[in-house]
């Protein structure tokens, strides 16, 4: 399945599909590098779309489509969030849990295309690559990339 098709199959997100990386807010886009824009299959600002319906929930930020082959794309779920305290690790893990539980019912097609869940840090980072926090994130399935993520 293609990323755009999966988004259009998701009633909550169908009007939020953007070409390229246009879904990203300007401040967040500064943390993303793309060396091959042609491989981007679109993006969705999940947080902005869901904030009215779920104002008190720990919402995830973005879904990005990456071309895989002629018929299928990948979804990369990206959270742009501070890493200024080890407590942020728990916050982002809670966001992922909520994303998965929401998407299981509301966005199963997008979820099925998942390649990775990525946390891009804003500001200074307070845990090292070898830290238990980093391992905790990995155990939750979250890839921590520091202040910059090269998407493709």
């Amino acid at each position: 399945m293609k990323f755009r098709e999966a988004v259009l199959n998701t009633p909550a997100l169908e009007d939020a599909y953007c070409a390229g990386l246009q879904a990203f807010k300007r401040a967040d886009a500064e943390h993303i590098t793309c060396t091959s824009p042609r491989d981007i299959a679109g993006s969705v600002d999940v947080d902005s779309v869901l904030c009215q319906a779920f104002p008190d929930k720990p919402r995830w930020d973005y879904a990005v489509g990456i071309k895989n082959d002629q018929t299928t794309d990948w979804t990369i779920w990206i959270e742009v969030h501070p890493a200024s305290s080890t407590g942020d690790v728990n916050v982002v893990i809670a966001k992922l849990r909520w994303l998965k539980s929401w998407a299981a019912d509301a966005a199963p097609d997008l979820l099925s295309l998942t390649r990775e869940y990525v946390w891009v840090a804003t500001g200074s980072v307070t845990f090292s690559q070898a830290s238990p926090q980093r391992k905790k994130l990995a155990s939750a399935g979250i890839k921590f990339v520091g202040n910059r993520y090269t998407i493709c």
Partner: protein
């Protein structure tokens, strides 16, 4: 307060080193894969700082290099090391002044006081059968740093510990708080003693008042590695009101973590802070993420002007006035970290920013890169498994 004088050493085309420009802080840490020139850089630093003393020591033990640089390098750095120096290509610059090494080894030097105390990676070799080996016990091709360190330990034990007595713990040596942490980390069940075996004095481990001794060869690997380091600390921290030994200004410790459990590395790093508090400048080479963890944490505590007590929390050390002073001093020190890469270049990665897009810096020169890669692989496995 940190001495603001900059000490800069530049090495070009020496052995594996293509270019290493090092600006030494109060604490300087060198990291990088094996055989990238860290030890060579530190030994050359010692040579430049202590030329007169090195020459005088070598001559005292009958070593002669006939004013010839290759011969000298084989004696000083060790057999076969003459090949490091490439005529007309290799250069050493200290404090922006080029050092003519050929001329340097060809001249008589006025004997000066030793300013650099060097603790080599091969320190375990300095104790044989539980007693330090004299300088002359080594082969002529063994590195000077190993022979000199060994001789220094021998002098320490023969001049300052003349009886059969307890060596650790000892009230006159080291702060009580440090002694307690060292005892937990290294000697939980035994004390370190000087005992007599037939006519020979030797270091042993002993339980309480028991007459039973454990000789050097049955100690744990960590204890065998640590005891030479402990004796080095004893040398640097004399039992007098003077905080430092003679004219020593610099302490170089190669691979401080060798053979040690992470908890023991942590305590040893606290000893480094003690050295800094006493006014020494310290240079370390390391492969341990724990060493860089400490440097990183100190920098963060300093930048955020957080309470110095947090420094003691890192080590699980007691908050006492004397330890608070050690912690406060650590936060005033300038710290530099350099990564020696396989291509022969030394990179300044002092920020140690885990969020840096520069992988050399975020992966701390490869030291935590593997852990990072492991975490990435596990996160992929978990994410894929969940999606399936």
């Amino acid at each position: 307060m940190s001495d603001v004088t900059k000490y800069e050493l530049k090495l070009e085309n020496i052995g594996q080193i293509a270019e290493a420009k090092l600006s030494f802080g109060d604490l300087t840490v060198l990291v990088g894969p094996q055989a990238t020139g860290k030890s060579i850089a530190l030994q050359l630093f010692k040579l430049i700082a202590d030329t007169g003393q090195v020459f005088s020591e070598l001559k005292r033990y009958g070593l002669d290099w006939s004013k010839n640089l290759p011969e000298f390098l084989d004696i000083y750095l060790g057999e076969g090391m003459r090949q490091l120096w490439r005529e007309s290509q290799s250069t050493i610059t200290w404090q922006n002044k080029k050092i003519d090494l050929v001329n340097l080894v060809g001249r008589q030097r006025r004997i000066k006081d030793e300013t650099v105390f060097y603790i080599p990676a091969q320190r375990v070799l300095s104790l044989r059968d539980g007693w330090p080996r004299p300088f002359t016990d080594y082969a002529p091709g063994d590195p000077y740093a190993v022979r000199e360190f060994s001789e220094r330990l021998r002098l320490l034990l023969e001049q300052e510990f003349t009886a059969t007595e307890g060596l650790f713990p000892q009230e006159r040596r080291l702060k009580k708080e440090l002694r307690e942490l060292l005892a937990q980390a290294f000697f939980p069940a035994h004390d370190l003693h000087i005992a007599r075996y037939r006519s020979q004095r030797r270091l042993v481990l002993q339980t309480g008042d028991s007459e039973e001794h454990l000789p050097f060869m049955v100690w744990s690997a960590g204890q065998r590695e640590f005891v030479p380091l402990l004796l080095g600390f004893y040398w640097l921290m004399p039992p007098t009101k003077l905080p430092t030994r003679q004219k020593i200004k610099w302490v170089v410790i190669e691979e401080l973590e060798m053979g040690l459990h992470p908890q023991a590395i942590s305590v040893t790093m606290l000893m480094i802070l003690e050295l800094l508090w006493r006014g020494y400048r310290v240079c370390l080479s390391t492969h341990s993420p724990h060493v860089l963890d400490v440097v990183w944490a100190l920098q963060k505590i300093k930048i955020h002007q957080a309470d110095a007590r947090l420094v003691l929390e890192i080590f699980g050390a007691k908050l006492t006035p004397s330890m608070q002073a050690v912690a406060e001093a650590a936060l005033k020190k300038a710290m530099q970290v350099y990564f020696f890469d396989r291509e022969g270049t030394a990179h300044d990665i002092s920020q140690l920013d885990p969020g840096s897009s520069n992988e050399l810096e975020s992966g701390w020169g490869g030291i935590s890169e593997f852990s990072g890669r492991i975490a990435d692989v596990v996160s992929q496995a978990v994410a894929h498994g969940a999606a399936r």
